[in-house]
Symmetry: C2
Subunit: 599 residues, 2 copies
């Protein structure tokens, strides 16, 4: 076990006190999922001691010394640069400069580059024969380092954390040189550009003396001959890349105030400007890939996409956690699920449908598993044999998503795991049981779980641990939920076997799927006969003639609706639990909680 | 000109009075975009005389007589069937029937079919060697016709209007026959099934004596040997396929009450059951294809998809048409566009992003161009040269969508045009001008349109007609909108040319795109320098320090934001205007208007 040299207690990543949003010089680095704004959130993000130890553990000790030395050297250079920058007229170009016109604020007229210069992205460097070519690159200037009055280095960054080293060297006797001319004032001006400014450079691609380890493009560097400032950043910036990549583990909204204003040691000792957060970009990439694979798996199986509405005129599944609003002369609600609409599509003559749409829950749940707005991946399908048609399809689509992402995003998953430590995900051979397993082999407090209980979150997690240990999988199904734990549209299991035992618990053809012990999907067969449906509604103590329910029931009276079933997957949850993230909030672009609506 | 034999005035397709939703026996056919529920909407859909004439015109006169005769014959057969059905114990199977077990209500246990029987969809008939095979088909029984006590015909329908004829013929001497046995009671039972019930049949695929013209699969028919009722339809159904395919042209909400209860002659003279509406399915297919092509065009150009939120904490673009709601201790709004969020992504270090998400407008606009919820196709990108980067990309993606849909959905477009008559769409060579063209060559009432006017809808339509006539295109761009007609984030045109003329109208690098004279896209370059942005905000009379605006402006102060621009496309509008539909409501799955929230 490596020793943890670090005693963190709680380190807020958000350094801004509530109400003081815009004065502070610190902010989260760009390229994160929530680009600039996280500092405004009513959250205090904290790093636990355990997590921090894990991070240290990830870095081999042999490299540490080298890093320290490097950091020291960079700090020295930074001092030089800053002293230099104070002298440099960073916004103005000297008038008698022979390199005038090759650098400066971008003109409003189009910039003229060399006719041979080619616009190219860093991501394409590996595919192209770029050595010796003159290129144009638009990028953020991430860091700069003054080597001497004649030479400076910059680190240029494009989207996706693609970085390259740029070198700018003054040509010895400017007046005798052919263009491009680089003058000492030009070197000073470039070195004085505020970090995180957006620039465009013209440069020749060359091989560095040795690979540039700090940059993603390490086998090339750019000899800069023109540099224009397209959009300047402010003079003072906060927070380092290292701090930004630290895991976020405490989402307790109540923590603000108590901890706000506490600064971490590393923060105040600014060694450089912020950079894109590759971890957040990796999560975003995996999220969009999961959505894409869901769609393509289903399209290949003749599912048709449809669009359910967000605004609805009746509450579909109980009124407690629904957002309400004035809607002209009436009241409107935000959809809690596309359940009824999926079924309308089946009743309307489509055999297999799916939707990808936002859904809304107004519950005041301030946990790492809840958001008020999230993305639902939903499907509904005709049943040909029995409800296991649906079960197998949902298992199939989830396993496909997980396996595809594992194949395509191997590196990104490792990157995420290096920050948010988690065990490698285990995918199944089929398992079974649930309450019984929990009762017989679970923790003592769950000895008395009944077969007709719906499971609580702690029970679900305990079950997840048991299943992992017993069946060697993180992904499993809990099937045949008791009738009491499911809404009225869940179809009762009316097979001979189900009805045989006297006093047996009534079960439904409904199931949940779990990943790492947390629910990611609810599914099952739906009641498609109107009389049975009405009986189920009455059994739940709901009046089938109430306006919210009547329209739904009538669909089944008007037409023969085939046997059908489906399920709903929370995209944010499968991203978060698949990656072992501590919160669904980290999986979303602009997470919404009871306390968070901005940005 | 063909003579219009038909004097319709206004024929409501919706026959249900408000408040009396579920008693009526009429409903819209299944397979429509809004499957069963349209009858509940607070709309009266009407058919204009002109549209009706167009429909008649579409049918060659020579076929008319044949159709009439056929309709008469079918009506006779229907009488026989109904009389028969009244005698038939349609829900019970006769006990001493030798065919017992080969038909009836579906058992709760899995149905046993012949071991050689293969599950196959009608859409796959053309790709497979099906003749002589025994198949299982799950479908709606659309119509039935009793030929004699020994023989009946049924029309079976799957999704996408795939239909096939089924024949059921009693085997002559049941006891001597090998299975499968078809008895007379079985023939009677099948012929007595209520239209639009969902059934499963086992059948042998055979060639019909002559092609079955009424069915989409015309070169095969099914000799039914088993038939089970999976979900019965009610005994009484309304509305024919012909009525359902009639165009909807009057979306005037005020018309309810005045016209409700009026029945069209054909309605009461029910000649058969309803069927899927292929026109609506074609529109749905084209809609999803447009979405798909938008995504794939942009992904191929290194755009990254992101998800903007629906719930927001500040009104982004003015408060007049925004939905508000209680959100725990604060107030929340529904997003009117992802504008700010697209720009946050650019500021956050992504060079090209797009989103496909619902947007909401609370304006009380009861027109055929407005909905309160619609799907926005949005993109934002770094600008490398000037704002025409954005212009060309948006033109490119729209033309690509239109051309792809034209290529893939040729038949479906013709089908839609046969009902909603429109001229074939003309796609451009580039045109230009706008207010000037309207002033000089437009109708007299627009002689005095000024260069700094934003155009009204009638003006836009007049311009569309002029452009079509002059430049031979239905798709064109109106560029360089005056500063007064654009929001603060639109970038002023600050090129030398723009500033030269004294007293010239200040213009922006912003544009709209039009299809058939109606706006489908707003786009342009955005102001990316914070001082310029603040000045623009002030010039619009808005306080840059107001909470709604301040967070936005600060983004541009915190980091160098590259020059960028983008645009937003209304998916519902491009579907509707591309197809020449009379209303965007016809392009949506579950359209939302100030008066319509259900289903």
């Amino acid at each position: 076990m490596p020793v943890c040299h670090w005693n963190p207690a709680l380190i807020p990543i958000c350094l801004v006190e509530p109400g003081k949003h815009h004065e502070s010089a610190t902010y989260l680095p760009r390229g994160t999922l929530v680009p600039l704004f996280r500092r405004q959130f009513q959250f205090t993000y904290t790093v636990s001691q355990q997590q921090q130890c894990n991070m240290d553990e990830a870095a081999p000790p042999s490299k540490k010394a080298a890093k320290k030395a490097e950091a020291k050297a960079r700090k020295e250079a930074l001092k030089v640069q800053r002293a230099d920058a104070r002298q440099a007229p960073s916004s103005a170009v000297e008038l008698d400069d022979p390199a005038k016109g090759f650098y400066g604020q971008a003109p409003t007229t189009p910039i003229i580059f060399s006719s041979s210069a080619e616009d190219i992205s860093l991501r394409n460097f590996s595919n192209r024969n770029v050595e010796g070519k003159t290129i144009i690159l638009r990028a953020w200037l991430q860091t700069s380092r003054t080597q001497s009055a004649k030479m400076a280095f910059v680190k240029l960054r494009e989207e996706g954390n693609w970085t390259i080293q740029g070198v700018v060297t003054a040509t010895s006797e400017p007046p005798e040189q052919e263009p491009p001319i680089v003058s000492r004032p030009m070197v000073r001006w470039i070195a004085g550009i505020n970090p995180e400014s957006f620039v465009v450079v013209e440069a020749e691609v060359q091989r560095p003396i040795e690979p540039v380890k700090r940059c993603r493009v390490s086998n090339f560097e750019l000899r800069i001959t023109r540099c224009y400032l397209l959009a300047p950043a402010p003079a003072i910036l906060g927070m380092t890349l290292a701090a930004a990549n630290r895991p976020v583990v405490d989402f307790n909204d109540e923590a603000i105030g108590a901890k706000a204003g506490v600064r971490e040691e590393e923060e105040t000792d600014k060694e450089g400007p912020p950079a894109a957060t590759p971890v957040q970009q990796a999560i975003a990439g995996i999220r969009m890939e999961m959505k894409h694979q869901f769609r393509s798996y289903l399209k290949a199986r003749v599912f048709k996409e449809f669009e359910p509405p967000s605004l609805i005129g009746a509450t579909s599944e109980g009124g407690s956690s629904v957002f309400r609003m004035r809607y002209f002369a009436q009241e409107a609600f935000l959809a809690q699920s596309p359940q009824f609409y999926k079924q309308f599509e089946i009743a309307g003559g489509r055999k297999r449908v799916f939707s990808i749409a936002p859904v809304f829950r107004a519950g005041n749940s301030n946990t790492s598993r809840h958001m008020t707005e999230f993305t639902g991946l939903d499907l509904e399908m005709e049943i040909r044999n029995d409800y296991s048609d649906v079960l197998y399809l949902l298992e199939g689509v989830l396993l496909y998503i997980f396996r595809q992402v594992h194949r395509i995003f191997k590196d990104e998953i490792e990157l995420v795991r290096s920050v948010y430590r988690s065990s490698e995900i285990l995918l199944p051979e089929p398992g079974q049981e649930a309450q019984q397993l929990l009762r017989e082999e679970g923790p003592a407090e769950f000895r008395h779980v009944r077969d007709d209980d719906d499971m609580s979150t702690p029970q679900e997690k305990a079950l997840g641990a048991l299943v992992r240990q017993k069946f060697n999988t993180d992904f499993y199904v809990v099937d045949k939920f008791p009738e009491t734990a499911r809404p009225f549209y869940a179809k009762l299991d009316d097979t001979a076997a189900a009805g045989s035992a006297e006093g047996a618990v009534k079960v439904t053809n409904a199931f949940d799927m779990f990943l790492r012990g947390q629910e990611i999907l609810s599914g099952g067969q739906r009641t498609n006969h109107p009389d049975e449906l009405e009986a189920r509604i009455r059994a739940k103590g709901i009046d089938p003639a109430s306006p919210d329910i009547d329209g739904y029931v009538q669909v089944f009276r008007q037409v023969g609706v085939p046997p059908h079933g489906g399920g709903g997957i929370g995209l944010d949850r499968i991203v978060a639990w698949y990656l072992g993230l501590p919160s669904v909030h980290l999986a979303a672009y602009y997470p919404r909680t009871p306390r968070r609506l901005l940005p």
